[in-house]
Amino acid sequence: MEFSRVFELIIAASLINNFVFTRFLGLCIFFGVSRKMETAVGMSITFTGVMMISAALSWLIFTFVMVPLDITFLKIIVFIGVVAGFVQASDTIMRKISPGLYYKLGIYLALISTNCIILAVPLINAGERYSFIESLAFALGSGLGFALALVIMASIREKLELADVPEPFKGLPIAFIATGLIALAFAGFSGLITI
């Protein structure tokens, strides 16, 4: 029962309601990082980790402090603060403890703190009143979906560098068109699971 629900949430968040291709959130990082496969993979790993931890933190604060005190209307500002504070703290700690990892993934951390998917996931968790396990599953699914989108887009854009694109469409415009086409393909997933 519980496991099937978790599985459903991961599939739904990563494929059916993919944040990039069906909700069109987080596009600034999506286009900024997907130029090379190496940065795309680094960003995906960092993103999924930060997403799960910040979703867990926000769920704890929301359920145990904000709901009993009847101040759930503050969720947007509190979640922004929690995510930014957590990202800043992990940036500081990672720099000291593992400089190698910081050198590889540190540049993405500052970008992540202003990402809208990172904020949307705790807000959806709070709005749908998911349990702790369900929140984590939703965050994992969203992270995997974003990673999938980044990897697909990076592989396409590396090929597009060599393709014969009309002059006005070179660079970002053709990337937007490609994203629209992938979004159409992802529309085929709709109705796979109904929650």
């Binding site: 604060i61 101040i71 759930t72 503050l74 500002i77 703290a89 403890i97 009143r129």
Partner: protein
């Protein structure tokens, strides 16, 4: 923890003007918690909002300051001097 929080918000020494404010603040109809309610006392909500935001700010501020001190990384001061000479354009 919630009980302590509620006693703090309900005590009047933090907010000496409670009786005056009672007349100034209108009573709201719907809102407040997860579910819509018919009647919401606004004053406790405002109090807990202030205290909660102050607490979150204090926790994160102190935590980040402590982390920055404990996990500080020494940077060679000559790096900054060289960067100043190079006009930060590299």
């Amino acid at each position: 923890m919630i009980e302590v929080f509620k006693t703090i918000t309900e005590s009047s020494f933090l907010f000496p003007l409670t009786d005056v404010m009672q007349f100034l603040i209108p009573q709201a109809g719907v809102g407040g918690g997860v579910e819509a309610k018919e009647h919401v006392e606004l004053l406790p909500v405002i109090k807990s909002t202030f205290i909660f935001l102050a607490a979150v700010g204090a926790v994160f501020g102190l935590g980040l300051a402590f982390a920055a001190k404990k996990f500080s990384v020494k940077v060679n001061p000559r790096v900054e001097q060289v960067k100043d000479v190079l006009a930060h354009a590299h």
